[in-house]
Amino acid sequence: MTAAITPRERRRTSGFRAGPQPEGRPSLWRRIADASLPYQLLTFAVFAAAWELYAREWGGLLIPTFIETVEATAELLGSAELWQAMYVSNQALVLGFGIAVVVGVPSGIVLGRFRTLERFADVYLNILLVTPMAAIIPLLVMSVGFGLTSRVILVTIFSIVMVVVNSRAGVRQVDPSLIEMARSFGASERQIWSRILLPGALPAIMTGIRLGVGRAVTGMVLVELLMVSTAMGGLILEYRGLFKAPLLYGTIVIILAEALLLISVARWCERRLTRWAQTTTARSA
């Protein structure tokens, strides 16, 4: 990129609207200021300090201080009981969410592609979206039992809506002229699915998976709390019964941490897989 630049090349590299900027590495300060982590840490510190002060002044039996909670969390992380509970809970999470993705993504795509089908299915999706799950759990447990099955089903029911709705939206927002373009080059229906619809819907599908993970964790804990009382939910109930507030909060912190971790992993995958969507949206804004 030095002496041998032809006028034509120069026009392309430095011209008006001539595409990508050269990727220089921004300074360290710039990168720290641009990252969101420092701001998150700052707000968290403020939050922790406020919690600590409030609990020390007005806290009672059920509100532990921030430091007590941190200590309890550390204690829990060292106990075999917690890891056993995590293992049991996460079986339901993995199976239930796996089913939600494997069933939800294809059904979402089919619903997005074929409008007539959607007319039939729309009402059920809405039902899934608005039903108060707490009301269903007892019925579910009564019909399926207290075992893994009912927990898996509940996690699936909780999370599948997000996956289906977002996959459907993703297919719908695929530019119809891309389908026409593919057809003009002689693409078969199968090629349209694999080369146009699926990649085009991928960003929205990944968003659905990320949102679904959050709901799946909620579902996992809820069913254990309300009915089955095993594993993580069981721990929460136990500590609540014994008024062990720090441990109760510690358990919740660990569940939160797991959910946040899973969501970050999902977000990371989303970014990796769909970089093109971010460049286009940033540009068309």
């Binding site: 990508p20 002229s177 003009s184 460049t279």
Partner: protein
């Protein structure tokens, strides 16, 4: 490279040459938004000679895009026939490829994969399609951009990708639907010149839809003037400007013939707009 025969002077000349596209009595209507039938095309007859550059001009709603999509085999029609080199059109085919107004590039794919897309759909192996795509990318002046994605390119560059993709499948007929309608004026002029240069060197049949009189005259051997409601061919205007034209477009645009034909086309188009004005008000 340069045409050996005399310059095309009119539709009658093309009847004597080998025909690439024959359209006979094409009619197409569809149900409009208000429930009534809209006649998009009524009884369209058109011949396009081999290696002819035909431009189609008309007010919006005259069915010019419908005509192009019918030739591409993308839409069904009610009456009439379209023959490509004697073979009736029954759907999209390997002998035709299309360039779209909004580029229609895959935003997730690189320039190389976009250009190779048509070849991939036709089952061309990876090595061959990438080699062919690379040479087409070089032809439209995008070497060095193979790994970029469309979002990183300007509109003009995106349409170069669209043209390269259409040419990569080595079509006999290139169908262009207002390809330069979505780029800025300066880029459009550059693209017009480059398209002329590519066509002068490689010779293929082109049907080019446009709403610009200047563009229609600059590029076309003949200009098909269409009128709206129902869409039909109002007139076919020959463009007796000499070829090759890409070398000195500016001189061409100052020539008397160019100005005359452009002015004539505008007169006709304005009449069409006036014809429809009272009718629309009366409704």
């Amino acid at each position: 490279m340069v045409r050996t025969q005399t310059d095309p002077l009119g539709s009658d000349d093309y009847r004597k040459e080998r025909l690439m596209i024959e359209i006979r009595g094409l009619s197409k209507s569809f149900v409009g938004q208000d429930g009534g039938r809209v006649e998009a095309l009524r009884d369209v007859d058109l011949d396009v000679g081999e290696n002819e550059f035909l431009t189609v001009l008309g007010p919006s709603g005259c069915g010019k895009t419908t005509l192009l999509k019918a030739i591409a085999g993308l839409i069904p029609w009610q009456d009439g026939d379209i023959l490509i080199d004697g073979t009736p059109v029954r759907g999209p085919g390997a002998d035709r490829s299309m360039v779209f107004q909004n580029f229609a590039l895959l935003p997730w794919a690189t320039v190389l994969d976009n250009v190779a897309f048509g070849l991939r759909m036709r089952g061309v192996g990876r090595a061959e399609r990438e080699e062919r795509a690379r040479s087409l990318i070089a032809m439209v002046g995008l070497s060095g951009f193979e790994t970029k994605r469309p979002g990183e390119l300007s509109g003009g560059m995106q349409q170069r990708v669209g043209i390269a993709r259409a040419l990569a499948v080595r079509p006999r007929v290139l169908l262009m639907d207002e390809p330069f309608g979505a780029v800025d004026e300066q880029t459009r002029r550059l693209l017009q010149e480059e398209l002329l240069a590519i066509w002068e060197e490689h010779r293929l049949t082109v049907v080019f839809i446009t709403h610009s009189m200047e563009e229609a005259v600059l590029l076309g051997d003949r200009v098909v003037l269409m009128s709206a409601r129902p869409g039909r061919i109002a007139e076919i205007v020959p463009v007796p400007l000499q070829r090759p034209r890409s070398s000195d477009v500016s001189a061409l645009e100052r020539s008397g013939k160019y100005v005359e034909i452009t002015a004539y086309l505008w007169d006709r188009l304005r009449d069409m707009h006036e014809e429809h004005r009272p009718a629309t008000v009366a409704r």
